[in-house]
């Protein structure tokens, strides 16, 4: 029941019949403003992509290259030949799969426990969690904690502290709580134990919300750089985003050139950026509705 309710959440006001629904001058203005906004968002991607496949001599003569007569993938070859990129990709993929699974496990079981009624100490735990949304220790005590735990310069610092995300946990909790209570009661009458009720009944019914939360975690892991920057100094532990920082923020990037072709630094930087966002660009249009569902449901309930 709850599932259909969420699936049917309208994203925009339904078109209404009637004379006022004609496409008029007002709509043309709206259309143009939105079109400009959308183009402003697309422009950097388009521009960087074109430059990344433009030969150096054309780009130097006209930095505003919006179309290239000759396509070259030399910049991408340099990126692929850079061991830093692959090292970063390795770490990021470990975070993407290992970290996401780990976070999902702890976030989902916490959300489930807090969605069930009437167990001893539930209110206390709930308040203990909510307080952390308003108060925190700040950067330095956190740093000392991580150091005390011996996680400096390990990959664990990018995984373990992320076990539970309070926002995602509350999303899961609210979703579990919205499922009908009769499910649990009838399963109990049929002789199912608590584990079975959770794994066989509640988890399968929560797939849409599990997908949403999983995607939020996955994106977070793909974009991870802050903890690595703060706590790790070893090159082997740099995430893809950190490698990208190294490449883009250094005035002259140190990517080795394949062969003898001279390649412009700028186009290599742009190719490196593209390398890190292409997975997102490919998947996002199909996954957008899951993200939207998450935030809409979370906001309405929370």
């Amino acid at each position: 029941m709850a599932k259909t309710k969420i699936d049917k959440l309208p994203l925009a006001r339904k078109e209404r019949p009637g004379p006022s629904n004609r496409f008029g001058g007002f709509d043309v203005v709206l259309f143009i403003i939105l079109l400009i906004f959308a183009l402003l968002i697309i422009f950097p991607f388009y521009y960087l992509f074109v430059v990344s496949i433009t030969p150096q001599e054309i780009y130097v003569n006209n930095p505003l290259t919006l179309w290239t007569p000759r396509v070259t993938f030399d910049a991408y070859k340099s990126v692929f030949n850079d061991s830093r990129i692959w090292g970063g990709l390795k770490i990021t993929l470990i975070l993407l799969f290992g970290g996401t699974l780990y976070q999902m496990f702890f976030t989902v079981i916490t959300g489930y426990a807090l969605s069930r009624n009437n167990w001893v100490g539930k209110n206390f735990v709930m308040n203990m969690i909510l307080v952390t949304m308003f108060f925190g220790g700040g950067l330095i005590p956190y740093y000392i904690l991580i150091k005390t735990l011996g996680m400096i310069n390990t990959i664990w610092v990018m995984i373990i502290p992320g076990a539970i995300d309070t926002f995602n946990m509350l999303l899961m909790r609210n979703y579990f709580a919205s499922l009908p209570k009769e499910l649990e009661e009838s399963a109990k009458i049929d002789g199912a134990n608590d584990v079975q009720i959770f794994v066989k009944i509640f988890l399968p019914l929560s797939l849409p919300m599990l997908a949403t939360v999983g995607l939020f975690f996955a994106v977070g892991n793909w974009n991870s750089w802050y903890n690595g920057m703060l706590f790790n100094s070893s090159q082997n532990l740099k995430t893809l985003q950190q490698v990208l920082q190294d490449i883009v923020y250094t005035p002259s990037s140190g990517i080795p050139n394949p062969g003898k072709i001279r390649i412009d630094d700028e186009s290599m930087k742009m190719a490196a950026i593209f390398f890190t966002i292409i997975p997102m660009m490919l998947f996002y249009p199909f996954l957008q509705r899951y993200f939207v569902k998450g935030i809409v449901v979370g906001a309405i309930k929370g």
């Binding site: 925009a12 006001r13 339904k14 209404r16 009637g18 629904n21 496409f23 007002f26 709509d27 709206l30 939105l34 906004f37 959308a38 968002i41 950097p44 960087l48 430059v51 930095p63 505003l64 702890f106 916490t110 426990a113 069930r116 009437n118 167990w119 735990v125 203990m128 969690i129 952390t132 308003f134 108060f135 925190g136 220790g137 700040g138 950067l139 330095i140 005590p141 956190y142 740093y143 000392i144 904690l145 005390t148 076990a163 539970i164 134990n193 974009n223 985003q241 920082q245 883009v248 923020y249 930087k269 950026i273 966002i277 997102m280 660009m281 996002y284 249009p285 993200f291 906001a299 309405i300």
Partner: protein
Amino acid sequence: MEKLLIKRKQSYAYSFKRRFSASKFLLLMIIPAIVYYAVFCYAPMYGVLIAFTKYSPKKGIMGSVTDNWIGFENFKFIFNYPSFWTAFKNTLIIGSLKIIISFTSAILVALLINELRMRFFKKGVQIIVTFPHFLSWVVVASLFRLTLSETGGISYLVQQLGGQPLKFLSDGKLFLSLLFSSDVWKEAGWSSIIYIATMAGISTDLYEAANIDGASRIQKIWHVTLPGIRPTAILLLIMSVGGVLSAGFDQIYNLTGSLNNAVVLDSVQIIDVLIYQGTFGGGGLTMGQTTAIGLFKSLVGFVLVITTDRIAKLCGERGII
């Protein structure tokens, strides 16, 4: 009377026991969460005590608290430290401007998308404008730095049209505008989602009644749509006030190229940057001093949320606390 009390006590103990054993599985499930929040949220809260000490890493937090307690010395120091007040001022200005700009831009985008009557285009636009939210500041900053650099394409175009090369990355004031525009570019679309969903929930009766009254579309927006999203807007505004003193370390760190852009850094020196640089970037502050700054920041943030909440309630809104 006495008997009754004993009986009641017994039955309470009994039901407690029964409830306890009935919720064994759930209690087992919640243990990791208790450990997690105790270690990663409450331990650092205890750690703020070093703000009152001359922290020595060798002695640890406990040792520093017992041996090196100096009371409010660190606070006296930071309140007399000129960079602190500069950072505080910058943070307030940047943080509050950001809240105002992102608040209005999100509602504006939501109104535009909500009012438009082209289904297909609307879907496409929503996908495009929400996408940048999911990119890291590393990527967004890289896109902006390369597109708007002095030797980049836009700067070239401006020069061809007779203008000066763009100095977004080398002029403090222009850099601030880059801060705000990149924030809108990244977040306006995503933040609008929540408003669009709220607008979808406004009763159609209200619009029909407005139609009968002969209201124009602008009038309908002003008298129906905007009042309809007011509770949501105020809720989100109160919540964002808590973050005013954060003002976006991620964004500033990346747009300045790992804080390496000394030319513009002065104008975007916010509290978080001061804490970070003071401790890790050779800023020469002790951990006790930077913790004091952090503690001051959370206290002010908390007071701001409470105050905004009170004001909202006085104005007859719902509030969050």
